[in-house]
């Protein structure tokens, strides 16, 4: 949807942003004081050393698409939102939240391999592990709410609302981003670049108009035992977010 806006380039997952953010955190926490005191590398300079390569890649991509803004969508970004706010203070951070039970149902059976051991990731065949990941991601994103003035650069969107009232949700999002409305966003499935991304698990879904059948899919796709396992992990957060039975 964002990539279909005439001013926004939002390509497939870069998968580098959280890597650089974590490297920066590691260096800052373990060597930041030494660098500052003995090497004259200030905290600001250190941040720039890790932010600049990402800016270069993303800006080159933006220019190649002829757009004025660039958005980077990788799920793991949410785990480092507070770090990203420090590295890119003026960047808006968008957190999309979906019913955790549907997230767990969607994850089951995904052909995702853990590169460290060559085996399927826990989250694709263990509903409790998937529920834990969902809770951790939502909590990580919502930790932004503890930062003063967070509403200026952190925004939450509900997947269900985006599906059911896309125009309304997108208008709110564009207002947050300072961008004008564009009808083309609702025609995202006609975007010829939609197939430019590789190996994205949702490529097939985003090549067709919005459909609502994935909302509440957990009722069909999870059995009673799985639902119980998910609720024991995610129940409190689901309730907090207003996802009922």
């Amino acid at each position: 949807m964002l990539d279909s806006h005439p001013e926004v380039a939002c390509g497939s997952e870069l998968r580098l942003v959280h890597v650089f953010a974590n490297l920066w955190r590691n260096v800052r926490d373990t060597r930041g004081a030494v660098l500052e005191e003995y090497c004259g590398v200030s905290a600001t300079e250190l941040k720039s050393c890790f932010a600049a390569p990402l800016e270069e890649i993303l800006d080159r991509y933006r220019l190649s698409q002829g757009k004025t803004r660039v958005a980077e969508k990788t799920p793991a970004n949410v785990t480092v939102f507070p770090l990203l706010h420090e590295l890119f203070p003026s960047s808006p951070l968008i957190h999309i939240i979906r019913d955790g039970r549907d997230v767990v149902a969607s994850l089951q059976g995904m052909p995702w391999i853990d590169e460290r051991n060559g085996r399927p990731m826990d989250i694709v065949n263990d509903v409790a592990a998937a529920a834990h990941t969902w809770v951790d991601c939502v909590r990580a994103g919502q930790s932004m709410r503890g930062i003063p003035g967070y509403a200026n650069y952190y925004c939450e969107i509900r997947y269900e609302a985006l599906i059911q009232e896309p125009a309304s949700v997108l208008r709110g999002l564009l207002g947050f981003l300072g961008l004008p409305w564009s009808d083309s966003m609702l025609e995202f499935h006609r975007n010829p670049r939609i197939f430019g991304g590789t190996e994205e698990s949702s490529a097939r879904q985003v090549a067709m108009p919005l459909y609502r059948s994935a909302v509440g899919r957990w009722r069909r796709d999870l059995n009673a035992e799985q639902i119980s396992a998910v609720m024991s992990v995610a129940g409190p957060l689901l309730a907090e977010l207003g996802y009922g039975h």
Partner: protein, 280 residues
């Protein structure tokens, strides 16, 4: 010290390229901190205390490069060389900033762990000199076993400080890793601790010449600056406070028991002698 003709030519053209960092690595207690202090006393070379940033980033690059493959080229117009450049940038920029602060033309990054990332560092920095500091493994073990380095998570002694097997395993891993990376095209300089202490000019001249620099007598007065990083290098401080001396060469004869010496010879003797260190 063996480097290929092509590498020699590249390195001899380095003069003035302050953005080409030098990486020093090797087993702990091999004389890296001593070499750091000596190099840092050269008017053109800055060598700050152990940062351990470069190997962390270089090893992360290798993993990302393997996992992402050519996706970045396909989707972002950033090919594998662009990915290399992205990961090299923080290392290069941090070190360049440290060189500017020190007002030196060259920067040497000293970290024992660099040796475990020499192949990756070679790919990220094709023109950088890689320096392996090698020391008699028995002296490395004697030095390690006298330390009380502990795992902060468990409070237990690190394996390398707890036994001959642990100390030798660490030394062997570092030596083997350096040997694996020491292909002619990689242009790895090997500086032996024993030669550095006894004949510092001969030990350092190949590296200095490759940088277009000369050996400076002032490098031997490193001990005048020994307290610059006193809080960070306390484990090596006695060595840094005095002029070079060879009293620590062969310390294993005093510090390792007969049983420990036998164990060493049994487990690591073959590697030890293959490096030219006489057994027994």
């Amino acid at each position: 010290m063996a480097i290929s003709r092509a590498m020699e030519s590249t390195l001899s053209a380095l003069g003035g390229k302050s953005n080409v960092p030098i990486f020093l690595g090797g087993a702990y207690r091999s004389g890296l901190t001593l070499l750091r202090a000596i190099l840092d006393s050269h008017p053109e070379i800055a060598c700050p205390p152990d940062l351990a940033i470069a190997p962390t980033i270089a090893l992360q690059w290798e993993q990302v490069n393997r996992v992402l493959g050519d996706n970045l080229a396909l989707n972002y117009g950033t090919d594998r060389s662009g990915l290399r450049a992205a990961f090299a940038a923080p290392i290069r920029d941090i070190l360049a900033s440290a060189a500017r602060t020190a007002r030196k033309r060259f920067i040497a990054d000293k970290s024992p762990a660099n040796v475990f990332a020499f192949p990756q560092l070679r790919k990220l920095f094709p023109e950088s000199p890689l320096v392996h500091v090698l020391r008699d493994g028995r002296d490395v073990a004697a030095s390690l076993l006298a330390l009380q380095w502990r795992d902060p998570r468990t409070g237990n002694l690190l394996p390398m400080c707890a036994s001959i097997a642990g100390a030798g395993g660490h030394w062997k891993a570092a030596v083997m890793q350096a040997a694996l990376a020491n292909l002619p095209e990689n242009g790895i300089f090997v500086i032996r601790y024993e030669q550095l202490v006894r004949e510092p000019e001969a030990a350092l001249t190949p590296l200095l010449h490759a940088l277009g620099l000369q050996f400076e007598q002032g490098m031997l007065r490193f001990h005048a600056h020994a307290r610059d990083y006193i809080e960070l290098e306390s484990c090596s401080l006695p060595l840094l406070l005095q002029p070079l001396d060879g009293s620590r060469i062969g310390r294993w004869k005093r510090d390792l028991s007969a049983a420990q010496q036998r164990e060493w010879e049994r487990e690591f003797g073959q590697l030890q002698s293959s490096l030219g260190y006489v057994l027994g």
